[in-house]
């Protein structure tokens, strides 16, 4: 494992995109950053600009209009970038599946590397996902 990959996996800057989420996943994402879980221990910080990001977090469903913005964000992001879908919505749409603004899952627009299931997923589930993702990035 090269030092570069080690540095990347030990210093993940996270950019968070909420589609039409019901906000529960967003609250749980913030919980991961609070003193109780404190993911800065692993070098994970939340950033405000996509240009600074290494991880793109999606929550909620993306309708036809917001999907265009999501594609723009993904194209603007400096590579390598990892895309993670938080909660069941980015994967299946869950309870929004039959609503008028449901189109297709965001995985149809941009490649998603990992999904964290749950409605909403617990902070422990997200940390477990981070650990698995880092393992995958390191080729383990």
């Amino acid at each position: 494992m090269s030092f570069a990959i080690q540095a990347l996996t030990r210093s993940l800057n996270v950019f968070h995109v909420a589609g039409s989420a019901c906000n529960n996943c967003d609250i749980e994402i913030l919980d991961v950053l609070t003193p109780r879980y404190d993911v800065e221990r692993f070098g994970i910080t939340l950033v405000g600009s996509i240009k600074h990001a290494d991880v793109l977090l999606l929550s909620g469903i993306f309708n036809k209009k917001s999907a265009v913005r999501l594609k723009h964000l993904y194209e603007q992001a400096p590579k390598p970038i990892v895309v993670v879908g938080i909660g069941g919505c980015p994967a299946t749409g869950l309870m929004f599946r039959d609503s008028y603004n449901w189109d297709v899952p965001p995985g149809e627009y941009i490649p998603i590397d990992a999904y964290v299931g749950g409605c909403p997923p617990k902070p422990e589930a997200m940390i477990s996902a981070i650990v698995k993702l880092i393992g995958k990035l390191r080729g383990g």
């Binding site: 570069a4 210093s11 800065e40 221990r41 070098g43 405000g48 600009s49 240009k51 600074h52 290494d54």
Partner: protein
């Protein structure tokens, strides 16, 4: 001195490499103390180094319509300036008899350059939020430079010389009441120079989402972060040299430990201010610097002239 010697001093010790390593360690102290204040565990010791290496392997994006040469050279200007400032400062600390006349003025100029680099980079990035950040940074520079130069005059008056070497050899300025006032003013200006809370309006992450740095990615962003970390080392060290007698080499290890303790003390004060203060609006910050801070700095200069 040979040219090769100058280049080695600029690039390795006490210039770029040394300043970068100590600056990154200082930024770890900053993050760790912040985490402890917020009752968190905080990042591991090597975290700032991982961050910089990570930025170096990321892709560099240049926004459409931006002048690429200016956008990409702005971080280099800041890095070069802070390295030169650190080299001159450490030469003065190590060999106070060999400095040139007026190096204090050169240092004050060089320490303004990183802020100018941020302004250049933000205006070159064709982003409205970056422009707002850049214009705030410009107002902040105009605000703090006046009291900072006034405060830097106090040790000059005490030492009756504008050479860093003479200021270091004279008795420390904080021994006099005017020196204490000037140190307080300079610490506030340092907080603004480092754009830390309460003077972080240029990059206010809640309103400007990164402000001046918003369009930067990859190596240029890493260089900006590195410059900030190096400023976090150079600025407190500059204040220690100006007001507190600096680090004395060649008189035993006790003096060196004392010098390092002065530096660490200043850094912890910076971090505690940054963790306990709310952000000032830019108009409040400029009023604060041109009002009370300048008055106190003027009072310190008058007191110094009266021999206090």
């Amino acid at each position: 001195m040979y040219y090769g010697d100058i280049i080695v001093q600029y690039l390795v010790f006490p210039g770029m490499l040394f300043t970068a390593v100590v600056g990154l360690v200082t930024s770890w102290i900053d993050r760790k103390v912040t985490a402890r204040v917020q009752m968190r565990v905080g990042p591991p010791f090597l975290q700032p180094f991982y961050d910089i290496v990570k930025y170096m392997i990321k892709e560099t994006t240049v926004p459409a319509g931006a002048p690429a040469w200016l956008f990409l050279s702005a971080p280099l200007i800041g890095l070069a300036a802070v390295s030169a400032a650190s080299t001159i400062l450490w030469r003065a600390l190590m060999v106070p008899s060999e400095t040139f006349a007026g190096d204090l003025i050169v240092l004050i100029y060089l320490l303004t350059m990183p802020a100018l680099a941020v302004i250049l980079g933000s205006f070159a990035s064709c982003n409205p939020l970056a422009s707002v950040g850049g214009s705030r940074e410009m107002k902040l520079v105009m605000g703090y430079e006046l009291p900072f130069v006034l405060a830097a005059l106090v040790p000059v008056i005490h030492a009756q010389s504008i050479r860093m070497g003479d200021i270091l050899s004279a008795s420390p300025a904080v021994a006099a009441p005017s020196g204490v006032l000037a140190l307080l003013v300079a610490m506030l200006c340092m907080q603004a120079k480092l754009t830390l809370v309460p003077f972080d309006a240029p990059e206010a992450e809640t309103e400007l989402t990164g402000g001046a740095y918003i369009e930067y990615s990859g190596p240029p962003l890493g260089l900006f972060k590195l410059t900030r970390a190096m400023m976090l080392f150079t600025m407190p060290m500059f204040l220690v040299a100006l007001y507190c007698g600096g680090i004395r080499f060649g008189t035993g290890w006790l003096d060196i430990v004392l010098g390092i303790l002065k530096y660490v003390g200043l850094v912890v004060v910076i971090v505690l201010i940054r963790n306990t203060a709310p952000r000032m609006r830019i108009d409040q910050a400029v009023k604060f610097f041109w009002g009370p801070v300048t008055v106190v700095a003027l009072a310190a200069v008058v007191l110094a002239f009266m021999g206090w």
